[in-house]
C-alpha cells in the first residue's frame, strides 16, 4: 500500500499543472466579448484561476509528500503533529 501511495504521489504532482493548463486553455477558448454566459466573461476565469493555482500547488505538495513517504504512517495523536 505504501508503495502505491508513493507511485500515486508522482501522479498527483503531474496532475496539478495539467489542471491549471486546461483552465488557462479553457479561458483562452471561451472568453468572448460577444458572449453572454459567465464562461465568456474574463472575471470568473481570473478568479477561478487565481484560486485554483494555490490549490494545484497544494496538490503538487501533497504529491511530493506522498512520494517522500510522509503519508506512510499517519500521526496517532496531536502530539505527533
Amino acid at each position: 500500500m505504501n508503495q502505491l501511495k508513493r507511485i500515486l504521489g508522482f501522479v498527483w504532482m503531474i496532475f496539478a499543472p495539467v489542471v491549471i493548463y486546461f483552465l488557462v486553455m479553457g479561458a483562452v477558448h471561451n472568453i468572448d466579448s460577444a458572449g453572454t454566459k459567465d464562461i465568456n466573461k474574463p472575471i470568473p476565469w481570473i478568479i477561478i484561476i487565481a484560486i485554483f493555482t494555490p490549490i494545484a500547488v497544494g496538490l503538487m505538495i501533497f504529491g511530493f509528500y506522498s512520494l517522500k513517504g510522509e503519508y506512510d504512517k499517519l500521526p496517532e495523536s496531536s502530539e505527533d503533529l
Binding site: 498527483w12 459567465d38 501533497f62
Partner: protein
C-alpha cells in the same frame, strides 16, 4: 475533559446549530433570488453593473469564503470560539438585513450594485468563519463516543438552511402576484428582513453560552497559539494533514453536496423545464425526508468510523449521477406523454405572445411567437411554445412554415412521476448525508485544539465553497464544449468525487481519535 456524560449538550447543539442554520439561510436567499436581485440592482446593458454582478456571484463564494476561514479561524484560535462565531453571526445577519434595505438601481444608480457587492462579500467572509467555530464548539463539548452524532446536528444546518430559505421564499411568493413580488420594494425583500429576527434570537441564545471547555483549559494554561496561521500551514506535520483533509475528504464531499442540492434543482428547472413551484416542492420533499439521515450517519460514524461512510457517499454519487439525471430527461419527454394520454388531452386557446417582422429584399417574414397550455389525463401538463414563420413574397403569396421543434416549458408531472422524482432527489441527498454527516467530527479529530479552528476551516471552505461552488460554472463550460450530451456537466462532480474517493481510500485512516483534548 470534553464533557464525558454529555450534560447540557442539547443546549450547546441547539444554540450552535440555530446560528449556523441562519447563516446558511442568509447565504442562500441571495442565490435563490438572484434573478430578481439582478433586475433590481444589476440592470442589463450596463457593463459596470454586469461586472459587479459577476463579482458578487464569484468572489463571494470562491475568494472571500476561504479568506473568511483564515481570518475568523485565526481569531477563533486566538480569542476563543464563542466570541468569534458570535461575530460572524452579527456580520452575516446585519449584511443580509441591509441588502433588503438598499434602494434599487433606478433610485440610487450605481451606488445600489456597489453596496450589494460590498454586503455580499461580507456575507461570504462571515460564512467562511462560522462553520469551523460551530463544529469545533460542539465537538469540544461532546463525549468521545457521541462526537459524530452530536456534530452531525451542525451538518444538518446547511441543508435545513436551504429548506428554510426555499420555504420562506415559496410562502412569500404564493401570497402575492409576480408583479408585487418583483417590484422595487416588493415581496422579494421580506426574506432578507426576516433574517434580522432570526439573527436577533440566535445572538441572544449564543450570548448565554460559555466558552468551549477545551479552549478554556488551554487558555488558562497559557497554551493557546500565538500564530495559528503559521502553525497550521507553516509546519509540515500539520500542513500535510490539511492537504489530506482537502484532497482525501472535503473536495469530494463538496461536489456531492452541491450536485445533490443545487445542481439537481437548477437542472430540473432549466434543462428539464419543470414548473417553478412543483420543482421547489420536489426539492422540499426530498430534503425533508433525507435530512434525518445526517443524524443516522453521524451516529453510525461513532460506531464504525468516519472514513468509509464519507467515501461510500461519494462512490454512490459517482455511480448513480448519470443514471439519475438521465431518468429526469427521459421521463419528461412530452411526446411520450402525448402518446400515453392521446385520448385525454385538453388545451387552452393559443396565445400569441409576440410578433416579429423581418423585411428582406424579396419578401417579408413574420415570426409569430405563441404559447398554449396542455393538460393531460394523468394530471400532467406543459406549455408548448412555438415560433411559426409566415413569409409574404413580392407577388403577395403567403407561405407558412410551422415550427417543427416547439419548446416545452412549465412541465407539471403526474402524481406518480412527481413521487419518483422526489425519490431520486431523496437518494441524491442521502449521498450528501453520507459524505457530509461525519465530516465535522473527522476534521475536528485531525487537528490539535490550539489551531483546530484555523486548520479545519480552510480545507472545509475550499472543498465546499470552491470545488462545490464551481459545479454550475464547470457544467456550463462542459455543456458549451460538448453540446450533444446534456449530461456532460456531471463529469466534473463525478471526476472530483472519484479522485477524492481514491485518495481517501488509500491515504485516510478509519481510526477515531478518542482524545481531542491535546
Amino acid at each position: 475533559m470534553a464533557n464525558p456524560d454529555g450534560k447540557g449538550i442539547g443546549k450547546v447543539i441547539f444554540s450552535s446549530s440555530l446560528g449556523t442554520l441562519i447563516e446558511w439561510y442568509d447565504f442562500y436567499i441571495f442565490g435563490m433570488l438572484a434573478k430578481t436581485i439582478s433586475v433590481q440592482f444589476f440592470p442589463e446593458g450596463n457593463e459596470t453593473a454586469a461586472l459587479l454582478s459577476t463579482l458578487a456571484i464569484f468572489a463571494a463564494g470562491f475568494l472571500v469564503r476561504p479568506f473568511g476561514a483564515l481570518v475568523f479561524g485565526r481569531l477563533g484560535d486566538m480569542i476563543g470560539r464563542k466570541s468569534t462565531f458570535l461575530l460572524t453571526l452579527v456580520l452575516m445577519g446585519g449584511s443580509t438585513f441591509l441588502i433588503g434595505l438598499i434602494p434599487g438601481y433606478r433610485s440610487i444608480g450605481m451606488a445600489a450594485p456597489l453596496l450589494v457587492l460590498l454586503l455580499r462579500l461580507v456575507q461570504g467572509l462571515a460564512l467562511g468563519g462560522e462553520y469551523g467555530g460551530a463544529a469545533t464548539y460542539v465537538a469540544e463539548h461532546s463525549p468521545v463516543n457521541k462526537r459524530g452524532y452530536y456534530t452531525s446536528w451542525i451538518q444538518t444546518t446547511a441543508t435545513l438552511g436551504l429548506f428554510v430559505a426555499l420555504g420562506v421564499i415559496m410562502m412569500v411568493k404564493s401570497n402575492m402576484s409576480d408583479a408585487s413580488f418583483t417590484s422595487e420594494w416588493g415581496g422579494w425583500r421580506y426574506p432578507f428582513w426576516i433574517s434580522i429576527l432570526l439573527v436577533g434570537v440566535s445572538i441572544y441564545i449564543r450570548l448565554k453560552m460559555s466558552e468551549s471547555p477545551l479552549y478554556s483549559k488551554l487558555k488558562k494554561e497559557g497554551k493557546t497559539s500565538i500564530n495559528p496561521l503559521k502553525e497550521s500551514f507553516g509546519h509540515k506535520a500539520n500542513f500535510k494533514m490539511v492537504l489530506l483533509a482537502l484532497f482525501g475528504a472535503v473536495m469530494g464531499q463538496g461536489v456531492i453536496w452541491y450536485t445533490g442540492q443545487f445542481y439537481a434543482q437548477s437542472f430540473l428547472e432549466n434543462t428539464v423545464k419543470i414548473e417553478f413551484m412543483q420543482n421547489r416542492e420536489i426539492l422540499l420533499w426530498g430534503i425533508g425526508l433525507a435530512t434525518p439521515f445526517f443524524l443516522v450517519f453521524g451516529a453510525l460514524s461513532d460506531k464504525i468510523g468516519r472514513k468509509w461512510i464519507m467515501l461510500i457517499g461519494m462512490l454512490l454519487g459517482v455511480i448513480f449521477y448519470r443514471p439519475i439525471f438521465s431518468t429526469f430527461i427521459k421521463d419528461t419527454n412530452v411526446k411520450e406523454w402525448m402518446q400515453v394520454n392521446a385520448a385525454d388531452i385538453k388545451t387552452d386557446a393559443r396565445a400569441v405572445v409576440k410578433l416579429d417582422t423581418i423585411q428582406n429584399t424579396n419578401n417579408r417574414s413574420i415570426v409569430s411567437h405563441s404559447s398554449q397550455q396542455y393538460s393531460l389525463g394523468d394530471g400532467s401538463g406543459y406549455v408548448e411554445n412555438r415560433a411559426d414563420t409566415s413569409i409574404v413574397g413580392t407577388d403577395g403569396l403567403l407561405t407558412v412554415h410551422a415550427d417543427s421543434k416547439p419548446a416545452y416549458t412549465n412541465k407539471i408531472l403526474s402524481a406518480s412521476l412527481k413521487w419518483k422524482f422526489i425519490f431520486l432527489i431523496w437518494a441524491m441527498i442521502l449521498f450528501v448525508t453520507m459524505a457530509y454527516a461525519p465530516i465535522a467530527a473527522f476534521l475536528v479529530e485531525l487537528f490539535p485544539t490550539k489551531i483546530r479552528y484555523t486548520s479545519m476551516s480552510l480545507p472545509y471552505h475550499i472543498g465546499n465553497g470552491v470545488f462545490g461552488g464551481l459545479v454550475p460554472f464547470i457544467a456550463t463550460l462542459l455543456s458549451a464544449s460538448f453540446v450533444n450530451d446534456p449530461l456532460v456537466g456531471l463529469w466534473y462532480p463525478i471526476g472530483v468525487a472519484a479522485l477524492c474517493f481514491v485518495i481517501g481510500a488509500l491515504y485516510l485512516t478509519n481510526k477515531i481519535d478518542k482524545n481531542i483534548n491535546d
